[in-house]
Symmetry: C3
Subunit: 129 residues, 3 copies
């Protein structure tokens, strides 16, 4: 499971990195807390972090479930694809929000595979006992 | 623990479903990223997803803790009640936000029971060793 | 691991408490769902909860990874520091958002230590096998 744990940590570190970019954008574009709107570029960074948060809450259980009921190495590999996709998503969203689709797809499909694979594996394990 | 894993996956799948509804509402009501406001119906879908995210971060550790320190089947049952409550919450919130109370209660109480039960069980296990 | 489980539950309970404060502020300052803006004090409570959510998604895997690959007691201790820091963060943010820095630092550093420590431990365990 150490592979999965490393990918889990990388996902969290990437999310923390996106959070630091939001803080930086807050200063650069003069968006004072508690506001989270008012500057388009700040809002893009903010949405990248928010969307990554939404997905992390699906990815992490997915990594765990797939790893437990199927295979830790495949889980880790899907987690790596998700990392690359998230980086593409972040870069393209900040540049031009309408072009975030490809990056999103590359992150959404691995998450879906992990969760669906995990629940199928859990059902199989339940019926086998 | 396979029961708990299945309920975990169902909770995540329901959350992904709410996310897809937000994306759909984005298109239907013309709310362009990075905006997350400007159309009341879009905002309702958006808040359903956001509130579900908030609760998922309490539900998933709750399922794990209760399952580990009390009973996996009861944990799974509380998770199923939470699923039904979330569906009711989503439907009523989108129809009329002021009427989201019943659905919220049906999701909040199981989460509270899981966490409080989990911490009581963990304390008992700590003292027993 | 019971220490870590107790700190996990405390982190979630504190987050639920911040959520209840948001609900209370909704009523007190007349911010009707689905709106999440329009009153400065409400927005402060809302951002405290949102930021705590962001950090919880990094803290909980951090507690698990550090506990698994290093030491559960140190993980729990870092989690306790994070709880104290979060309370300071919440209080100072609601009073004066510009003064949230100290509380944030006291919550960010333990999370970073847990994740970085966790990934270093996981790499060591991977290479040792």
């Amino acid at each position: 499971m150490a592979y999965v744990d490393i990918v889990t940590a990388l996902a969290v570190l990437q999310f923390i990195f996106f959070g630091l970019k939001v803080g930086q954008a807050r200063g650069r574009y003069g968006v004072k807390a508690p506001a989270v709107a008012g500057n388009e570029i700040f809002e893009r960074h903010f949405r990248v972090q928010a969307n990554t948060l939404e997905q992390l809450v699906a990815l992490l259980p997915g990594l765990y479930l797939f790893s437990r009921h199927f295979d830790p190495r495949w889980a880790a590999a899907l987690g790596v694809v998700n990392r690359v996709g998230r980086q593409l998503y972040a870069t393209s969203y900040v540049k031009e929000p309408a072009k975030r689709g490809a990056g999103f797809g590359l992150t959404f499909l691995p998450v879906l595979a992990l969760i669906v694979g995990g629940v199928v594996g859990a059902l199989r394990d339940l019926l086998a006992h």
